[in-house]
Amino acid sequence: MRVLLFLCVVLAGCDPAPTPAKAPAPRTAPHGKPTAAVEVRLDAVDRGGGDYDVTLTATPTVATDALELVLDGRKVAAGAVAAGEARTMTTRIHLGGRGREVLGSAAVGQGNRRRNRAASTWIGAPQVAPAQTITIITMPDGSEVAEVRE
């Protein structure tokens, strides 16, 4: 697979969302798990000819000493970043008619602590779920079991 990495992290002046303080945390799910103080987004653009530009956008929600971006296996250190300031990383991926999942993540560090958050996006030909035969077994108490066999 031909992969062209043509963009890097823009360390200054790239989408600096002007958020001076801690960005409001989303309150969508009750009692969620602990997360990293960074929002992560993956966007893909079809450039034609089987080429896709995939962009990872990482936005710390609190000021961080060390922001690190990882996209499709490539890692870039972005250093200290203020809360609300986005950093991006883009890679070009050539698929040749196939499709695949692209993974990205961002880690924030504060002192000796590090937390990260990951995201994924599918590019190219639509994802086909692997064939798996499931048999519904009805138990004596009426409950159902979705049985997988190999």
């Binding site: 945390a25 969508t28 009692h31 993540s105 994924s120 409950s143 979705a146 049985e147």
Partner: protein
């Protein structure tokens, strides 16, 4: 409480009997007295009376009964003084010497071990009931049950019986052959686990017993269930069924536990639990079949989540004596993207490629911690995202407690969350997260990490403990939830349950003798300005 009072009148401190002047007639110590190291001082009229508690290896502490400072042997614990190591609440309690006085040392016995002092001295030993489970087990025709904390074996053949699973209320037992099927299949059921590492990454695959899960023998032709049982905690099972000799059947494990003490179902869809069926075999009077739920099947994680929930349920039973907690439903499937969260006796877990929580033991047990709040304690958590930053004190308390629960249930002070970026881990025992405003209000925003660190330091103990709180244990920390559930909360701090209310409960339950070490942990190390004046009394 045993106290050897060695009083010593120090007349010189008040000027002696020939001292002149009005100051000599005044003892200006607080009414409760004071401690200076191991020396207690208090007023006797105008005289200062001092007592060196260390002469008898006692410590100068605040005496709850008398509301004064005095000497106490800290190894003189409820339940009797500790001279040699003894077992108390499942932990080894011994007496050591530190700073010139006795100090109790509590070592909680880890997973799979229990405290045994039958030989005169307490020690953590392999749990004789480990691997049996609440429903007992069969090994051939030998029935084994856990009776009074010890394994009790019965040879079923001695009475002409066979060992079989009767029902969920009875479990395995010796029964008459005519009451069970003529065919039998027995073996070990395991699932492929990937244990979380300190870094957050997952370890290589290693099989673990599918303890507590439902296991069935199924007829291939019409998927009819011929017999069902519960897998023992060591993974062993036996199923006895009726079928035509030679017809094809198979064994299936499902990710649920119907036992009243472990009411758990891990569902793939709204209505179905996960199931994994083994290879078919011909029905026979005796078949040995080991089942291995593979990672590649996409179902092994469901059995890991069941295993973690069983850890949680067993903790509930041990700490709160709750033998019938409400049904817990866990929702997970590969590809699931509806988030990881708890609400209404349901835990939802991510199953995405980028973030799959199926093997993330501490993530599962964190969410189980919210279930514990729900069914045994109280939470006023407003919900929503959280990342360790200072936040609403009700959210910080609830999330910090949930993380602490995950750590204490596994006996390791590390929270871990894997993802496609490598994941992350965090150790509460070697971290210090301070309150943002050490002289600020009690209802200030605080970090959930500060909560978890404080709770771990209050609950951990042992010879290697790195904090001064050595005389409690994790059970005492968890039992604060009982206070939060039923107690009247003070109108300080934030409205609703937060760290202030938890500390109030701690002192109500544990007394004020723990004031000094708690103050060191909570306020000295982590700068939280608790007022130490809750309904349990005012700390001196």
């Amino acid at each position: 409480m045993r106290r050897a009072l060695v009083l010593c009148l120090v007349l010189a401190a008040c000027g002696g009997d020939d001292a002149a002047g009005p100051d000599a007639e005044v003892c200006d110590l607080p009414a409760a007295g004071t401690c200076d190291g191991n020396v207690v001082s208090r007023c006797d009229g105008a005289e200062v009376v001092t007592q060196d508690c260390g002469e008898d290896l006692e410590a100068c502490v605040f005496l709850d009964d008398e509301q004064t400072f005095g000497c106490a042997d800290l190894c003189d614990l409820p339940g009797g003084p500790v001279d040699t190591p003894v077992c108390r609440d499942g932990a080894v309690v011994s007496c050591s010497e530190e700073d010139g006085h006795h100090v109790p040392v509590i070592v909680s016995c880890g997973v799979g071990t229990v405290c045994d002092d039958s030989n005169g001295a307490g020690a953590c030993v392999a749990d004789p009931c480990s691997g049996i489970g609440p429903q007992g087990k069969c090994a051939g025709e030998t029935f084994t049950a856990c009776v009074g904390g010890a394994a009790a074996e019965t040879d079923c053949t001695a009475t002409g019986d066979v060992c079989a699973y009767v029902d969920d209320a009875t479990g395995y037992a010796c029964v008459a052959p005519a009451t069970v099927g003529a065919m039998a299949v027995a073996g070990i059921a395991r699932y492929e686990d990937r244990a979380p590492q300190v870094s957050g990454a997952l370890a290589a695959i290693a099989p673990l017993p599918i303890r507590g899960a439902v296991i069935s023998v199924i007829r291939d032709t019409d998927s009819v269930v011929l017999d069902t049982a519960i897998v023992a905690d060591d993974g062993s099972y036996v199923l006895r069924y009726d079928a035509t000799l030679g017809e094809l059947v198979h064994v299936t494990a499902s990710s649920s536990s119907p036992l009243a003490i472990r009411p758990i179902r891990v569902r793939r869809t709204m209505t179905s639990t996960h199931g994994f069926g083994g290879a078919s075999f011909a029905a026979a009077t005796a078949t040995n079949f080991d089942l291995l739920v593979t990672d590649s099947s996409g179902t092994s994680e469901a059995f890991n989540l069941l295993d973690q929930a069983i850890i949680g349920m067993d903790t509930i039973r041990a700490v709160f004596d709750d033998a019938a907690p409400p049904q817990l439903t866990v929702r997970w499937a590969r590809g699931s993207n509806d988030g990881t969260y708890y609400g209404g006796n349901q835990i939802h877990l991510l199953g995405q490629t980028s973030d799959d929580d199926g093997y993330d033991d501490t993530v599962m047990l964190h969410e189980f911690g919210h279930y514990v709040e729900d069914v045994e304690g109280r939470s006023d958590n407003p919900g929503g995202g959280h990342d360790g930053s200072p936040d609403d004190p009700r959210l910080a308390w609830s999330e910090g407690f949930a993380t602490y629960f995950a750590m204490m249930a596994r006996g390791v002070p590390v929270y871990m969350d894997s993802n496609s970026g490598g994941g992350w881990g965090w150790n509460a025992d070697d971290s210090i997260t301070e309150a943002p405003m050490p002289t600020g209000p009690l209802d200030q925003l605080v970090s959930e990490d500060m909560i978890a660190e404080n709770l771990w330091d209050l609950g951990d103990a042992g010879l290697a403990d790195d904090d001064p709180m050595t005389s409690a244990g994790h059970t005492a920390v968890l039992q604060v939830q009982a206070h939060l559930r039923t107690g009247t909360l003070r109108e300080v701090g934030h409205d609703g349950v937060d760290l202030v209310d938890a500390l109030d409960g701690w002192f109500q339950q544990q007394g004020l003798s723990s004031c000094a070490p708690v103050r060191t942990v909570v306020t000295g190390i982590r700068k939280f300005p608790y007022d130490y004046a809750g309904p349990g009394g005012a700390c001196p």
